[in-house]
Symmetry: C2
Subunit: 155 residues, 2 copies
């Protein structure tokens, strides 16, 4: 049972063909994201691929529908602090609204935190709303500080 769930909902890295499997539509459930052209997608995909393990996007594909139903990304920040330490930053975690309750979010978070750990990071961080605090606590995170933001006008 464990194995078949693992097989059915395993996390893999984003592939260039995932645009055709609803990856952008999934992100739209999280925040503003108008249509992205194939060219824009491929250019960004290649930019991110160029930094290799320093920026990884995980996805879960639903075998039955062939759609991407969960995703999240992690990138590795290189510091001078902490003896030239590294920090993993998790961003853009979303589970398809029709696939909630299957613990896919936790699978994505585990995949991303394990990646950060394997890259030698001393910590991994993320920002979330108060509503999602309990979920991340269950994943092993704790509230550390406040996130502050400044939006620019040109968007």
């Amino acid at each position: 049972m464990e194995n078949s769930e693992e097989q059915k909902y395993g996390v893999r890295k984003l592939e260039i063909s995932d645009k055709g499997k609803g990856f952008i539509e999934l992100l739209q459930q999280l925040s503003v994201c108008d249509s992205v052209s194939d060219k824009e997608f491929e250019d960004r995909f290649r930019e991110l691929s160029a930094v290799g393990a320093d920026h990884v996007i995980g996805v879960i594909e639903d075998e039955a529908s062939g759609k991407i139903i969960a995703t999240g990304s992690v990138f590795i920040e290189k510091k001078f602090l902490r003896n030239c330490g590294k920090v993993g930053h998790i961003e853009d975690v979303v589970v398809d609204s029709s696939a909630r309750g299957k613990h896919l979010g936790k699978r994505i978070i585990n995949f991303l935190t394990e990646h950060a750990h394997s890259m030698g990071c001393y910590k991994v961080i993320l920002d979330c709303s108060l509503d999602n605090k309990a979920f991340y606590e269950k994943c092993g995170f704790h509230n550390k500080s406040l996130q502050m933001a400044m939006y620019f006008d040109h968007h």
Copy 2:
């Protein structure tokens, strides 16, 4: 007066010679940072330089003492969200304890946010303690969400 202050406390990018000007000792006022060897510093400096404008560290050097008295960094995250948008992440902002009250922190933040803006980011974000919230609000930021962290054991 404005010009001479600007000249005296202008922000410039980190240079490889700044290790000899107390850059690491300044970071130690912020968080854990044991001694970093020249080799470790130079390796990390080159790694960061290799990504160019995608990771910039600003510093203020005190002309009188030749010491680095303020610093902060910003790196540019490339997303698929927000129409393949970009986000600036500000990290590791610190002003020397002997140089507080000269608005050097605000100079550093302005330098970093302007860089993020010039790179086409739609927003710039940072994490801070409750104690520093008012300072960042004066800089134009607002509290957006919670920062969550998970520390790994191997450090």
